[in-house]
């Protein structure tokens, strides 16, 4: 399969193959640049993810503390909270970012509606409940950012794998195949030229031989005439006889 392409070897085919080789090399270098740009962005994102995950550990811990404090002051309000779930106030909206031709999804926090839990903890421990709400709100914002980084990470990973696969395919399969085809065409054309040359030489030799034989036969014929009649009569030369015939018109 990776041997060479099957085309009829001619000069036009040669030009065509050379153009294709140039195209493949250009494509290869462009794809390599794309892979490098993507890899750079990938590493940047990975660094940010590590930072964010470390921060997340701290933020979650603070949020857990605030929840414990609130539970201590306001009593067990978890039942009330979980029963009263209705519509979310914080949702996410997706935006698209473009890196070297790859669209990456990004998430954005969107506040949407009123606070369902405005009245929770109204009887006691309201301040702790409010603080708890705030802490978890902060946690949510951070987590949304983390989610954006993570989706970009996964998408980029896939695209980088595909691009590298293509780069390797061009480098190790397509270009060698075209080069081998060019080599094949070159050798075929050279061989054809040599064949042509050889054929010409052979024809010349043959002609020479035939002429030599003809000369020998004519010489023998004249010799025979001289031996028989004592004089050599040349064969009629029609061209020379036009001197005796004057032209009719001029």
């Amino acid at each position: 399969m990776t041997d060479r392409l099957n085309i009829f070897p001619s000069r036009a085919a040669m030009t065509f193959m050379k153009a294709r080789l140039k195209g493949a090399q250009k494509g290869h270098s462009l794809l390599k640049k794309k892979a490098d740009a993507l890899m750079l962005r990938f590493r940047q994102i990975l660094g940010k993810i590590i930072e964010a995950k470390t921060m997340m550990g701290d933020v979650m811990r603070e949020a857990s503390f605030s929840l414990a404090e609130a539970a201590y002051s306001a009593g067990d309000f978890s039942l009330g909270v979980l029963q009263n779930v209705d519509k979310a106030q914080t949702k996410v909206r997706s935006k698209k970012d473009n890196v070297a031709g790859v669209t990456l999804p990004l998430f954005e926090c969107v506040a949407d509606g009123t606070d369902t839990y405005e009245l929770t903890g109204l009887s006691r421990g309201g301040q702790q409940v409010a603080h708890c709400k705030e802490m978890f709100g902060k946690a949510v914002t951070l987590l949304v950012e983390l989610a954006s980084l993570q989706t970009s990470f996964i998408t980029l990973d896939e695209v980088i794998k595909i691009t590298n696969r293509r780069v390797n395919a061009i480098e190790h399969v397509i270009i060698p195949r075209i080069e081998r085809t060019i080599q094949y065409i070159t050798t075929e054309l050279d061989e054809r030229e040599r064949e042509e040359f050889y054929r010409l030489k052979k024809i010349q030799e043959k002609k020479k031989k035939i002429r030599a034989i003809e000369d020998a036969v004519r010489a023998k014929y004249i010799q025979d005439q001289i031996d028989r009649e004592g004089v050599a009569t040349e064969a009629r030369n029609l061209l020379k006889e036009t001197d005796k015939d004057p032209d009719i018109l001029f």
Partner: protein
């Protein structure tokens, strides 16, 4: 006529908001009671028109298959963009998380009170295993 224009305006506003709501997506939570309570207070909980919540409270008696079903459901829903899952619960369904190749919904592993975050177990970070040093996390 003033009443007419104001009611028309509010109707138009409602239509625009309803349309926008379709594009905005939810954050789902799979965690223990405290985690879920906290995040509900944070304002991300919602029950949709089909009476489906976007969170699952995992107690001691919650079976692994329940967790798997819930996770698969959240992944299939088109209105969920992010799934937060406590890492110790993620361990129970690790095989599902490793198989997941969709970039949306994003699956984030979060620490819980008794179980601090361990980056070596995170499915997503394992894909880039060779590229970073676990010591960066300290």
């Amino acid at each position: 006529s003033g009443v007419f224009w104001s009611s028309l305006l509010s109707a138009v506003c409602r239509i625009i908001m309803a349309h926008q709501q379709v594009r905005r997506k939810l954050i789902a939570v799979i965690g223990d009671e405290d985690t879920c309570t906290g995040f509900m207070l944070g304002g991300i909980g919602e029950i949709n028109d089909k009476r489906q919540p976007n969170f699952l409270i995992v107690r001691k008696d919650t079976s692994r298959s329940e967790i798997e079903d819930s996770f698969n459901q959240f992944m299939r829903r088109s209105d969920i963009a992010i799934i937060l899952i406590s890492q110790y619960i993620a361990e129970e369904i690790r095989h599902l998380l490793d198989q997941n190749t969709q970039s949306i919904p994003a699956v984030l592993e979060i620490p819980s009170k008794e179980h601090p975050y361990d980056p070596t177990k995170d499915s997503v970070l394992r894909r880039a295993k060779g590229m970073f040093n676990p010591d960066d996390f300290r």
